[in-house]
Symmetry: D2
Subunit: 377 residues, 4 copies
């Protein structure tokens, strides 16, 4: 279609899992067209990866891509940055300063210093910055957020969030594992950065609360591992709610078992990523209710980001696509010189900064024997 948003991609070459996910997510609702890429860490690999995808324009590296695309009349409107974490800052900056919208993988950066600089770069740019905390795109996550905002469970008291995995139970030497356990590329946090940030972001997104401080006990259980593979964190929210966050990559039997439970003085909500089309609502003193995507009791916020009727499950890719589609709507508004519609929701660079602050606070707290650390330290 004529009005598809022209998209470039940095990272996501052959063998990179997350690049393929971004590409599918960008295609599902037909709002983007991938036309350019600098997909790998060397010019040779980039060219090979680009050719394999049949990309119109393939570049040696992100800098070249930013420069040349910015000069083209039909240059990209937006770029997806899906590299290892330590590259996010430098790559994003190149596009932001040229007014190209950035869709960036999480965590925002590998260091807090980079995160703060990137916030500055984004604030100085007229381009949008969208962070792919993709789990916020699931319809029933939106449903939970809407219900809490509506007061359906009352004042929030307790938030239990966890994201256990098992793939790093033993030492792994394939590419995904390698950079994610290397602090130079991943950042000081291991499981905290890779998945703890998702849990943290989800807790804030769903509840609408900010974390005031945390106490963390991190551990690297696998011998020789340089970053945490398990994190136990206690949370204190502004306003008095309290929470626990557990992230782990050494919990056998857990694939991507992100799960959140929120309890207020009137009821509770429970959602699990592996079964994302369900939301438990537990009003105090009444039977538990299982709300399904687009089923009875589901509201507008979920319906808005859902494609098919209840009982036909949507999954991870559709949730991811919702971030892309929200981004598309926002970018289209900007292109048209109109305000971004108020119902559009996507994780921003400020959410990204908070995520990096979360990792940094976890690492600092754990180094101090789990002393409380404020988030805006």
């Amino acid at each position: 279609m004529a009005d598809r948003i022209k998209l470039g991609m940095v990272g996501g070459g052959n063998d990179a899992f997350i690049g393929g996910v971004h590409r599918i997510a960008s295609r599902i609702d037909d709002r983007f067209e991938l036309v350019a890429g600098a997909l790998s860490s060397t010019p040779e690999k980039s060219q090979a990866s680009g050719a394999a995808l049949g990309l119109a324009r393939v570049y040696d590296d992100y800098k070249q891509m930013a420069q040349r695309e910015a000069r083209r009349k039909d240059g990209i409107d937006a770029v997806s940055i899906v590299t290892p974490n330590h590259v996010h800052y430098a790559a994003a900056r190149e596009f932001l300063k040229r007014g190209i919208h950035v869709i960036c993988d999480k965590p925002l950066t590998s260091t807090l210093a980079d995160a703060k600089k990137l916030v500055k770069a984004a604030e100085d740019s007229e381009a949008l910055f969208i962070l792919t905390h993709n789990y916020t795109g699931y319809p029933m996550v939106r449903q939970a957020r809407e219900m809490i905002a509506n007061g359906d469970i009352g004042n929030i008291r307790v938030v239990q969030v966890e994201y256990p995995q098992d793939w790093l139970t033993v030492e792994q030497d394939f590419k995904q594992a390698e950079w994610r356990t290397d602090p130079a590329r991943s950042g000081a946090g291991g499981s905290t950065g890779d998945i703890g940030t998702h849990a943290f972001n989800l807790a804030c997104f769903v509840t609408g609360l900010e974390v005031e401080s945390l106490a963390a006990d991190l551990e690297a259980f696998v011998p020789g591992r340089q970053v945490d593979d398990n994190g136990h964190v206690m949370l204190r929210f502004d306003g008095g709610a309290k929470g626990m966050l557990w992230c782990s990559q050494v919990a056998p039997g857990n694939e991507n078992a992100l799960r959140i439970r929120v309890y207020g003085d009137k009821g509770g909500l429970e959602w699990a990523q592996e079964d994302p089309n369900y939301l438990w609502h537990t009003p105090f003193g009444e039977p538990k209710r299982l709300i399904t995507r687009n089923g009875g009791g589901a509201g507008d916020a979920a319906a808005r980001v859902s494609r098919i009727p209840p009982g036909h499950p949507e999954g991870y890719l559709e949730g991811f696509a919702n971030i892309y589609t929200e981004a598309a709507t926002a970018i289209a508004a900007v292109k048209a010189g109109e305000p971004v519609p108020s119902e559009v929701i996507y994780p921003t660079i400020h959410d990204g900064l908070k995520g990096v602050q979360f990792v940094s606070a976890c690492v600092k707290s754990s180094a101090r024997n789990a002393a409380w650390v404020k988030l805006d330290h």
Copy 2:
């Protein structure tokens, strides 16, 4: 990409649920490009629907589309037919006779006579015919089929399959409900045609068995309804296995609760469409095992049609996309003058005929007070 398959679509205009599903499914793996359509039942609506989608070429009706596309050098390679059932035959025939591959929604046709004529038309054509019994595209359905073929549960004795829904519990007057409960457009079977055929197809696909005969007790519970909204069917398979099939559109609390359980002399398997990333395997005398998509114990057949690692759920659209991607691989082979790779699996026109025979046998049996009726009657 240059080598995308050029696709047309018949039906699937504004408000049609299944057309949008087909379009997303065709996009997910980037193997098709939708370029032409005759999307609605009148020229005016077709033009409006086509414009809304930004289609390159919009036609008044399927016949016009078949004729003109066949003459173009850059004409469509394949067409998706997503109309109400009674149109399938006439539309598919137009494309088949011009050598355009057909991807057709199920059930194959609204009458057994049409089904037999369409088989003939397909046999006379060099084009492929792919029926979108989409549930056969789910990775864990492929897993179940592979395990049974490998003998993992031994000789099959009992097959329990069901597909309950609830949306027709009360009389409905919106478009989806209207044609599906009109025998002139839907065929003689109501729930049996709309969802019973899915259950029947799934049972055969997973087990590799053919149904020899059935005894059916159909009912229209909602006053005034002209087709069955509930079907109770007993099955006898070639080789001695027996089964039960239940389809219903009046079972409150069931959205699309397609579920199959197969029991052999060594173990059992259980799969449910609403939680499609799981497959229970119950070897006799051992603990139950829960196999997850791409997780431990999952095999090649599932991995081949799966995009992302375990724990990140794939859903209905991805399963549907697998049919499209299998079709793409087959069509690409035909275009290249090569044989279709042996690992490619898709429901064929013969599966479609069997589905119509199933509906016909159910209706006949029920009219005879649930007497046994052979499938190839």
Copy 3:
């Protein structure tokens, strides 16, 4: 306590599973005291079994027990008959004709002729006859029955009930398996008699409906087996509801997976024996509700037969004990010359007759190629 009901037992000697269950069930609410027994099939074994239990009075056989206990001033008030099925009739008759209340295992008898004679014997006696269709004792089964009686799901249309097991997947030679697969002792039905009757009884109990006729396709899958080990049955209820019943002893992965689903024009209910503290209620168009024993939304009928707060599960033995406690309340009323309280519910000899008619109808229908057979044939 002084007012415990004095109980005897016929059958239930060493190695008999169900005898121990009856004894625990009789003890849980402290309403019975087991004082006499004729526990095994020979005088020697009976004496040994009685001694092992420390029974006050041990008899050679049930006839001796009935005669002598009837003559004692402190003789038993009631007797539990827990022998293989073919003994039920003759044993029960001895006690009934002496005015001793009978608590009898199901199915009522091994033949329809015996069942009819036993009904006559019970009608001629002033003693009560309680049949231990124990699943009707579960609190959430009572809850389901109460909700249906209250009209919570409207007019019933569809009843799906099943009781699959797997223990007879292969040939077994231990005692439990031996008599249950011997038509001389078990009756003409195998799985239909042993567990199909439970499923049938549960369907009638919960819905309050009577089955008018059925069509059954029975099979003995294990080579050499003389009775059915799998039964597929279609049901037609008085008033127009329809149902399916599946019982199987060759379904690997199923232990005692009795499960019932009932659908009316306003909603549905679902209960599973293996997770008995839960009841799903699915009002049409609303979120599913999970009612828990004694939790929010649970009513009086369940609370009456429940001992502990929600979240602490009650199980099979407590459900079985509820039958005993209902029996105790009824017997105590009779002893006191008072009417049995109207809220007391237990399966009667008429339910027992219906169960035997069910087995007989299944066998007859299957012999006639699954022709419809009326229940009161």
Copy 4:
């Protein structure tokens, strides 16, 4: 039976929930006979409660009962103490010093000082002391413990245990709630004492590990409440494993949702009290396995404390009864002058002391802003 253990009871009068539970638990396996009691807090109420139960010997208070029963030739062998926590110490001491075995509810005492004195009293007595941490009686908890001891999941790294409830979400004024939220009767811990101790005990029991230190953040969310109703606790075990413990009485939708997950370097285990007949075993890299009570893969430790075949659920009362039956076997051995069989397992006074130390450490840690506190402080 002649050899039943003669039992007395302190507390458990009319309206007391837990007294009835103890009485049923003592009856299920027919190893005890309740003959004496001082059931309530005043002589008048005690007499009334005893009469209502038809007890042979009713006393005004526990001291009178201890003195008189000790003098009788047919006096009680054992006593169950089921009063509010603050009475445990003084009551237990009276019986211990007279050589009467004590079965006592948890937590051991309401203060750490009392707990230490009670340990001394028990050590000075020849009587046994059994603490009813009843959840350790569940067969699948025994199964988990056996598997971990066998090394089935390797070296333990992470332990996640939680016990959320919801009954104190709002202020309650009935008797159960009243004393449990009164620090004078319950102890300094609210949810930590009432249910946190269960979670703590379960974690230690299942893993065989000791907690070295903890950091706790306790909260009383309901206005005016004097004890914690929510506890977030991080755990460090001897040997390096780490854990989280969450207890809450303000988590709507949770009835008694005690749940434990243990992860080692070879696999994981997961058990939930509300569905106690299941144990998930997740060997790394293999499909999840669902082990059922007495089903395939279940071992001797579970079978020893289980009464009925798989698929017929046992519940809370049976698990509780297992503690009683273990106690009976131990007491019978002592009476016979024989050693307690090595397979007998019950929670001891030392487990009780650890539980009180846990509560004390939680309270102390929380008062110090969640500083780490050693358990044997």
